[in-house]
Every structure is written in C-alpha cells, then in structure tokens.
Symmetry: D2
Amino acid sequence: DRTHILNLSCTDRPGIVARVTTSIAAVGGNIAESAQYWDRSTDRFFMRILFTTPREVNHAVIHGALRSAIDGFGMTFSLTDGDRVPGILVLVSRFDHCLLNLLYQIRVGWLRAEVRGIVSNHEDARTIAEQHRLPFHHLPVTRDTKPEQEARLLELYRDSGADLVVLARYMQVLSNGLSTALQGHAINIHHSFLPSFKGAKPYHQAHERGVKLIGATAHYVTPDLDEGPIIEQETERVTHALSADDLVAVGRDVEARVLARGVKLHLERRVLLNGHKTVVF
Amino acid sequence: DRTHILNLSCTDRPGIVARVTTSIAAVGGNIAESAQYWDRSTDRFFMRILFTTPREVNHAVIHGALRSAIDGFGMTFSLTDGDRVPGILVLVSRFDHCLLNLLYQIRVGWLRAEVRGIVSNHEDARTIAEQHRLPFHHLPVTRDTKPEQEARLLELYRDSGADLVVLARYMQVLSNGLSTALQGHAINIHHSFLPSFKGAKPYHQAHERGVKLIGATAHYVTPDLDEGPIIEQETERVTHALSADDLVAVGRDVEARVLARGVKLHLERRVLLNGHKTVVF
Amino acid sequence: DRTHILNLSCTDRPGIVARVTTSIAAVGGNIAESAQYWDRSTDRFFMRILFTTPREVNHAVIHGALRSAIDGFGMTFSLTDGDRVPGILVLVSRFDHCLLNLLYQIRVGWLRAEVRGIVSNHEDARTIAEQHRLPFHHLPVTRDTKPEQEARLLELYRDSGADLVVLARYMQVLSNGLSTALQGHAINIHHSFLPSFKGAKPYHQAHERGVKLIGATAHYVTPDLDEGPIIEQETERVTHALSADDLVAVGRDVEARVLARGVKLHLERRVLLNGHKTVVF
Amino acid sequence: DRTHILNLSCTDRPGIVARVTTSIAAVGGNIAESAQYWDRSTDRFFMRILFTTPREVNHAVIHGALRSAIDGFGMTFSLTDGDRVPGILVLVSRFDHCLLNLLYQIRVGWLRAEVRGIVSNHEDARTIAEQHRLPFHHLPVTRDTKPEQEARLLELYRDSGADLVVLARYMQVLSNGLSTALQGHAINIHHSFLPSFKGAKPYHQAHERGVKLIGATAHYVTPDLDEGPIIEQETERVTHALSADDLVAVGRDVEARVLARGVKLHLERRVLLNGHKTVVF
C-alpha cells in the first residue's frame, strides 16, 4: 500500500468533505486520519487527510480524481507522499542541544526525517556531524560576507533536496531576501514565549523582568523578525533564585522539545497556514 | 438552521467517510466539525461530525439518508440535536466546589447545560440550590435504606429528563445495580490521578506515599469502583511541606476543573466508548 | 502561643542569620518556617521567618531584641502579627469569576483573609456582596469624575483598615497618583502572560497573534501600567480552533487561580520586593 | 573560599537554627542558601545550609564548632564538601536516552557530576562510553549469574568512589541484598507516575487503562520494588490516538528530564529522607 497526505483549504461551502472523500474512495483510498477546521471569522475551511491506496495509485491518479473538486471549490492544496522520508537541513551556531535532540529523535524513530546536512557559522558542530556521518558545511559569516554566505546557504538547501530548513539555535538573523526565499520552509526556535522578549538575549530580558515562567516558541521564519506564524510553544516554571545564566540552562530542555515537536508537526504535514497564524492538526 | 451531532463507530473499511459525508451533503448538511480515529489494535473506526442543515431537515430525514450506510457498515451510531440544551442531575455530599464550578460555568456560558436538580445525602447544598432556584432533593442514606434511596435517585433521574448524572464529590459508592442502570450516563470525579489511590481518602494516601504531584480523574461510573473509562485527568505539583489537609485544599481546583471539562466533553458528544477506554475528540 | 512573621532584607554579610535567629531564640521564639535568598547580582540578602513565642512576647519585645541586628546590618524589615486575619478590599467591574474564587477560597479556609468591602464601577456585583453580607460600594467613574472617584476609593481603603487592595478584573486604569499611594498594597490580575499583550483586550491580541498558550499574571500595581513586579503567572494550552471569545472563557480559570495565589502569597508575607522584581518564598 | 553543605534533622525544639547558625558564624561561615522544614505530624525538623568559609576552615574545624549542637539536639547530620565534584556510576540496559541526557547535562554544566563509569548488561552503550572516554563495564546477567554479577557491580561502585548509582533505564530488578547495600545511594527512574503502574511495561499498562496523562518517577532504590522514597515526578498529556509504542516514545523526554532532576537534587544534597518519604529543598 501507499500512504498519501492531502492538505487543502478553501472558502467554506457545503459538500466539501463529501466531494473530497468520495474522490478518495473512488481510487480505492482508505482514510486513516482526518481533521478539519472552519475559521468562522474568515469563513475559510482547512483539512488534512492521511489515506492509503493500492500501490498503483500514484499522485497523477489522485490529482485526476480530485481535479473537479479542486477546481470547483477553488482549493489551495498539496499532496504529499507519506512513504518518503522527508529531508531537513539543520542550521546551528554554538549551542547544540536542539541539534542533538533532533538527531536523537530521528535515531529512535520518534521523528521521521533524514538530515541532509548540518550548516554552521562555527566549527563546533563538526564533531557531531562526523559522529553521525552527516555532511557538515562551515559557512562563517561577517557583515560583509553575509550576502554570499546566504547565497551559498540557499544553494546548499536546494542541492540537498531537503524539505525544510531548521534553525536549531542558529544565532544569525536571516536577510529579508533569504527569509522570503525560504518562507514556509524554514522553522526557527526562539528561546522565549513569543511575543514576549523578541530579539536578542531573551533569557536575560526575562530575568530582568522577573517573570515566573520562561518559554520557547517554534515558528516559521519570515522577513519580519520573531513575527512568523507560531507552530508550537511551551513554558517552564522558574523562580527568583535563578540567574540569567540559570535560565539559559533551564531553557535548553524546553527549546529542544518545542523545536522537535514543531519540526515533527511540519513534516507530518499537520501545519497549515491561515494568514499569519497556523492551523495545527 | 439546525445543528446535529453524529457519533458513530464500526469496523474499519474503505469508504466510510465518503458514504457518511455524502449522505449528509444529500440532505443539505454543512460539516462544521469532524474528527475520526482508527484504533489499529482492534481495527475499529470512530467518528464525530457536527453539521448544520436547513430547518426542515429533522432526525427522521437524516436517519433515512444514513440508513444504508449504517446498515452497510454495521455502525453503532447516535444522532444528537445540537440545538437542545442538555440536562444534568448533580449529586453532591458536603464539599461543594465542584457543584459551584458547574453552576458558574453554566451561568457564563462555557458549559452549555441545564441543571435539572441537585441531589444530596446532606442538607448543606440546599442554600446553593435555593440561590440558583433549582430543585433540591435531600436523600439521606444509611446501609439499610440504600436500596430505597437509590431507587428514588434513579426515579428522580428519569423524571428529570436529564441526559447525565454528575457525581460532584458525592461520597457514596453506588450499588452495582444503580451503576449498571446509569452506565454511560454518569460521570464521577475521583480525587486522585487514577489508577493511583483508588478508594477512600486518596489525598491521605497520596500524602502517606509522598508523591510530588496530585491529580484528579473524571470517569464514567461502572459497577467496578474507580475502574470506569477515563475521560479527563490533570495533575498539580505539590511538595513535602503540604499536609494531607493541605492536599485536600489544593486539590479542589483541579477537581472542579477536571470534572467540568469531563462534563462538557460528554455533553458535546466528544466522548466515545472504546471498550473500557474512551476516544475523546 | 503567638505567631510572628519577620521579613527583612539588607546587604549580604556573614552572620546575619545567626544574629537574627539568636535574637529570636532569646525571646523564646521557635522558628517554624524560614527561607532566604542572596541576590548575587546586587549582593542583597532577603529573609522570611515565621516563628512562635509565648503569649506575652509582643512586638515591642521582639523589636527590642532585634534592634541591634537591624541597626548593625542596616536592615529593611517588617514584623507581622501572624494570628491576625488580614483584610482585603476587592475592586471588580463586570466579570466576577476572580471575586467569586476569592470569596470561595476564604470560605473554605485556603485563603486566610477577611473581605472588608467590595468596590465596583458597576452594580453587577451587588448581589454577590449581599449574599456574603459584605459592604458594597458602587463608585461609577467617568473621565471627569475620576479624581473624585479615586479619592473616595482611597478613603474607603483607609477607613476599611484593609491590608491589601485586590483588583479582581477591575477594568479601570488607576491614575499615577492612586497607583503611587497604593504601591506595594495593591495586586492586579492581568489576563495575559506578561510582558506579552499589555494593555487592553489581551485575549483578542493573543488570538490575533495565534499563540498556542494563553496566561495570566498577578502583579503589584505601579504607575507604569502592566509593568509592576510580577508575583505569579501561569499558562494554559489553547489551539487554533478557539475564537477570541473562547479564549476569554478558557482564561477565567487561570486568572482566578493566579490571582488567588498571588493574594495568598502576599498576605502570608511571602513576597519581598527586590527592585522591580519579587522574591517569592 | 570553601563551600560546605550541611544537612541535619532532629526532633523540633526552640533554638536549633540559632545554635547552628551561630556555630557557623563562629568559624567565619557566610550562609548562601538555607531551607528548613518542620514536619508537624512527626515533630521532626529538617535543615539544609550551604555556606562558605575561609580556605583554612576544614571539616574538622566545622565539626568541632557544631559538636555541642549536634549532641545537644541529638541531630542526624551530614557535612559535604561543596567544592568537590561528586561521582556517579550509571547503570543502563538498551534504552540510552536517560544516559545521554545525563552526559549532556554534565557537559553543559547544568549537572555538576563526574561519571565514574557506565555499567550495562548489554553491549549497546559501549560506543557512547567510548565517545565520552568513560570506563564501560559489560556485566551480562542471567538468573543463575545474578549473585556474582551483583557482587561485581557493588565492587565496581565501591572501587569507583562514586557517590551515587543511577539506574538510567536499567531493566533488571536489584536483589534485596544489593538494594539494601545501596540504600540512599541509588536512584532509579520508573517510567510511570508511581504508584500507578508498578512493575513491568508501565506504558503498556497505561495504554491498556486509557489514562490521559503518562509520567515518570525518580525514586531511591529500596528492597521493596517501586516503593522507594519519591524524589521527583512529572506527567505529560497523551490522547487515545497514541499506541503503547507511541507512549514509550513520548515518555522518553519526561523520563530523561525527571531522572536528571532527581540526580541533580540528590547531588546538591537537597533531598533528605523523612521515613519512606523525602524532603526536597
């Protein structure tokens, strides 16, 4: 059997589910998971269906079956091969906890992904790459070399065939150009509970403000820094007794978990964009 | 428009969703919410659909439209009028925090329900009933009068037309007979994180064991005490510095919340039974 | 026996604890609880001690015993009668969930306090006040009458002998003057996880931003709106499927809990100010 | 300067804190952290003090200064060198997530410890040991060889000079003899929220019961299996949609975190035994 994941959105109207699921049944599809959401404020409808079909039913066949529904309802849609292991390109600077957790979760099968390469502006992660027999790309960056470095990065991404760029504590702000080129295909972990503490050194900001919870946010990269659609968040209780450095240490766990979950949700095609927000099935 | 909620389960086979949603579309239904689950271990399929139809489409019409699907797939199913406010009968002993939270959540509209009556083996809750202009039934109970008391309770439930009996810290064990009569129609709050600390005085058991988290569990009542299908649970952090009585106090919040959520999930028909477990959509 | 609570802070130096606890022992005091914190970044030391003494040991005696330590270390300190039930004045507008939870927690003894009065710019809470036989003060406010209304409010607070003003969803911004007059003696509940979503309609802001967690913050009132020292915070998971109005409903629980905990911490003298941050023992 | 950690417990009486802190001040000690707890039900007093002294003040000097307090109050006490990095011996079977997290947290400095060796009944962890240049001891075990294997294990522990044995998903039940020998010096991670789901395969038990939260428990090893004093616990929300194997995967994170926290609390001498319960400062 083959597994397929269909994501779609369109203006809400009666009969969408019936049309789509009937088309799937028509090609011998069996629905294993489905979820839907109707945004009353925008009257927009969102759906994700995971279904299996006989081997011979390929994407062309499914497209053919769905064609009239897609056209009739004016659907935005994507069809993903659920059997193919998706590829990711991981960007990292010095902190390696998010990278290590991704590699670990891939190894034990919780995260179904293949790392196509590790890119860093530092040399620190090279050993990890070697231990895991993964391509390592050292792309140092200065203010002057940023355009070239980003061009090289984009090239690496395209050559790698990766589906997603993961900024796993990559401490460089991407240019508008690169952010735009990667939009919808790059996830960043921000080490605060956005929209609190945007920008640099969020744990130090949090310590300064005296909050009783810290957090982390996995979001899509957009040209507007720390304003991208939020995929996943979590908080952790802290006390007055922790220094800013303690918060950095405590925050590692929550960052690593939130990023891994965000990446998993994306790769399983559970995240749909709804303007600058996400629908997460 | 009318709102309907359809719950169904059957052995998994291709085409279920298409058949059901096509039947719904055929009577002019528009699907607002749907969720499904396929239990691979038992090969059983579960689905909940909330849909709207024109005024004139009543249950008989929908039944007619779904008839061949129901028969063809051997479905267990229920169709609920989504516009009718469901009724509950609340049982309480001395602690009134769960009762008060239910009344509050109903008043502010978070919980859509109508209290048909309050039943207690004590007089304490009478004032609350009077303030809310609700029928209050004092049904004291002793070992000897238990059969009659329970008979009276069941009669009250039936006369009230309530959809659900809520044991909101009702500190009497129901007999096998009454538990069976109410099966699937009675929710209890147990003041521990089941299966930890079954039976009496769970906070004292928890204190004795020195746990670092306490909890509460909303579950369906079954003849097998504290073994009913679990609907909702939550835990709360505690420390060595709290006495057993402190745990009782700290636990009030979590009990009140967990019970209210369990009742809401049930009344919105989001809970389906899967053997002695629940599917919660 | 008598119970006393001693809070103190001073520049850190060796021997503080020994001096203070020896003075307490000298008047026959037995320490039941103590907590301390040394802020390395400011080199400031904070301590809270709860101790019992024989009946005849009054505050003058304890002050006498501690005098040389207080002077020698240049301590900021306060001594509180642990047996006296502290008074609160509750300010409320239309939403009453925070008020009701305070009243409930007082009734069941989790919160040791006495409500000296309920003040509102609306009439809605009058019934609650009457049911609880509490003084109700209707102080409507317009832009023009604000100075008089606030003068009346401050007068009520002073006449009531309350230790704390609790803004339990009081939807008026206090003027700089009143904020300053009440500084350290007024706690507000802000219905967001500060510093996210300051200002008006935080749930609508949260919905707009598409966050995956909402929260509430109990903080001291300062002239700088939503910037007061944070006492307690908590978050709650939400999804894309909730509207802004749903967030308002979901948020009630977390607001009510966070405010009650903040008030309890303050009244038990567990909160010490450390600049614009708090130390919470 | 030198750092010392003093833990003590005794029957509660007035003057304990004054006596102890005065003795500390007498040798030039400056208290950086202190915490205390009075168990009203047993009238037992517990205290932990972290203090610094000049270089030349060694344990003999401190013992001398504290002698009369210790004798006078009949204290159980321990004095720990706060500057020495404590050693641990890690036992592991096939699952390596808890081991990896310990190694990671040590590397980044969150956990202050030195791994003296890794012991396993399998060969799987050898590579990890080699990458970290740590001694690896393969001690396979069968029913027949268990006595010898345990004797060897105990010998390794003693030779290593480790302060603590950490059972990081070591899937062998220790004999009564070994449990007793290690009592208070061995921490196990149980992959459930004890006392729920004792014994084997707790995630499968949890799945079978249909709980809505899973958890993990770090506890001291005692001859009475899964009944040892609990140090730390945490839960994680799950749904009906997760299989038993999914629970195993989801549980890794919570196990790894809870164990690392339990080990950190122990090594920082924050855990005191109170009968079969713990006081955690």
